[in-house]
Symmetry: C2
Subunit: 336 residues, 2 copies
């Protein structure tokens, strides 16, 4: 019989300590976490600006081609910090586990978190584990919050896009959403679809080394490229125009979208970023990004304009154009 998580593992008592120490803390061991006090305490030097973010992950299935809920949770929070121009440093990790969850599955998730934390060079310094009765949650939910330092001189916000700026996407769109959906639907070609789930902090660091003329960064997760561009257009009170034929997407993603009736512009990504950058810096940034593993297919897809503030317009190859609204309604429940 395989070990399962029991309600008692969430009691705060001896069994909680055993599970947490043996299965979780031992995996992430670092001097800050090892103290196991109520808060992690660490030093900062100088006059710092801090970035702070949180996300809960409820993706289903919890294991998918290209990742799992743990990797997703770390990447998501690392990326949210990176999108503020921050260097991610410390993450917290909170599990809500359904009674009966396999301990081996928890270990698999913890190991995956470990791997991607190492890659992203962040430390897990605080955590929490709750267990709920069978049927009160679906397998496992993960929350990661994170703090990072915003280096001096960096001022990146969805509100900073300016007319004339170029829009860069770091690679193909729709990979994460279609990997999840095709796995859920049991599509036969699902084996070639992989989530793009990846930590983008090193890519952003390289970009900032190339140029500080980066005005907005966004990772187009839930709601996809279209929703993220709408957020920037609204926050900055500018118009955005993108060229349909310039937007990279894998053939199998386009195929799965057609088959399932999705528009790739609205499908979630978990390892891509949108950068809004000064026109003169755009070409250099794309060259730099292409040398990075998570930026190989970086490309300029459009520009910011002063017309139609708050709106995103898609120019088709046939010369026509249509307004790309925010996602309305639910496209893909539990995609992240």
């Amino acid at each position: 019989m395989q070990d399962r998580v029991l309600l008692a593992h969430g009691s705060g008592g001896q069994l909680s300590h055993d599970l947490i120490n043996k299965k979780i803390v031992s995996a992430f061991g670092n001097p800050i976490l090892d103290k196991l006090d109520d808060s992690a305490v660490f030093e900062l030097t100088g006059n710092e600006r801090l970035a702070f973010t949180t996300d809960s992950y409820v993706v289903s299935p919890i294991f998918f081609a290209g990742g799992d809920i743990g990797k997703l949770a770390v990447c998501g929070t690392v990326n949210d910090l990176s999108m503020s121009g921050a260097v991610p440093l410390y993450l917290s990790l909170a599990f809500i586990i359904e009674e009966g969850f396999l301990v081996t599955d928890l270990e698999r998730i913890v190991n995956s978190i470990c791997q991607v934390a190492t890659e992203a060079r962040i430390k897990i310094v605080a955590g929490d584990t709750k267990v709920v009765n069978q049927g009160s949650a679906d397998k496992i939910f993960v929350n990661t919050s994170g703090v990072g330092i915003v280096p001096p001189g960096i001022n990146i916000s969805g509100a900073n896009a300016k007319p004339g700026d170029k829009i860069i996407i770091s690679g193909t769109i729709g990979d994460h959403g279609m990997a999840i959906m095709s796995q859920r639907e049991g599509l036969s070609f699902s084996t070639t679809l992989q989530s793009d789930c990846a930590p983008l902090n090193h890519l952003v660091a390289e970009m900032l080394q190339e140029s500080q003329c980066i005005n907005s960064l966004r990772d187009p997760t839930r709601g996809g490229l279209a929703t993220s561009l709408n957020e920037i257009a609204k926050q900055s009170e500018v118009g955005i125009e993108i060229q349909e034929q310039l937007i990279p997407a894998k053939d199998e993603v386009r195929g799965a979208c057609e088959l399932l009736g999705f528009d790739p512009f609205y499908v979630a990504n978990e390892g891509k970023l949108i950068a809004v950058v000064a026109e003169e810096a755009a070409e250099g940034l794309v060259r730099k990004m292409k040398k990075q593993p998570y930026g190989e297919r970086a490309v300029i897809i459009g520009q910011v304009c002063s017309q139609h503030p708050g709106r995103v317009v898609l120019k088709t190859p046939y010369g026509s154009s249509r307004i790309l609204d925010m996602l309305s309604g639910e496209l893909l429940p539990r995609i992240c």
Copy 2:
């Protein structure tokens, strides 16, 4: 028909924005949160030590005498920061909501969070909202993470207890756990039982003003007084002795414990703290605590000793003693 949370409210698109802006962000509005970028960014001055903590809340029922899941989540995280001697500053707030949850209940929770955030003088600066299909979660789960500043000279840890130190408890034990349990069980006297759920940061600030000889602080939540004292004994490699007749508990809590077969030493508290302090500072600290609304019944209940390191011993009024172990097994699922 009452408004309910739909799956589409978790899509990341237009409906998500509506729910988040109208029901959540508008309640907490502050310049840091209002930016709605991927991370909250704020400034720190000088060479600071930062405290960082996370907790998920899955309490059932979500509304209870003396509080609700929202108040509990804010107090829990404020208290975890306070137990490191930190001044809590910023909290993140992440909801996992079951499809069909009443929007009015969400508003009630958000209002309650607002109230206690105001009392604790902390700001909600980052957030996330996910919605899962009906049956995939039980109503609503809340995660709060928090950051605070540890003032210079403060060095509080579960590992700092020293033989000779006195143990102070800030008030009666078992209130939160028995309020929840009696409500679940529908006990007739449940109306007089109230959760002690409260933010303890102002109490800790007053204590630190009185004396910096505070070595350990802990809020005895899941696992209760006995488990928290065991954690301190183990982390500090010291023995702890407490006197049974000195430990304050309300009559109705003792009554409910007897009726339901619980030991109050293991029942959760959500507005109490244990302080391990230098002997010479203990009396002065208790006097100071008694003047604070959440410390009125503060009392010295025992001391740290060099015998039986890692163990907590309870001295009974009859002269006998017994070892108080950590909680083993689950006493009260979903108590917080």
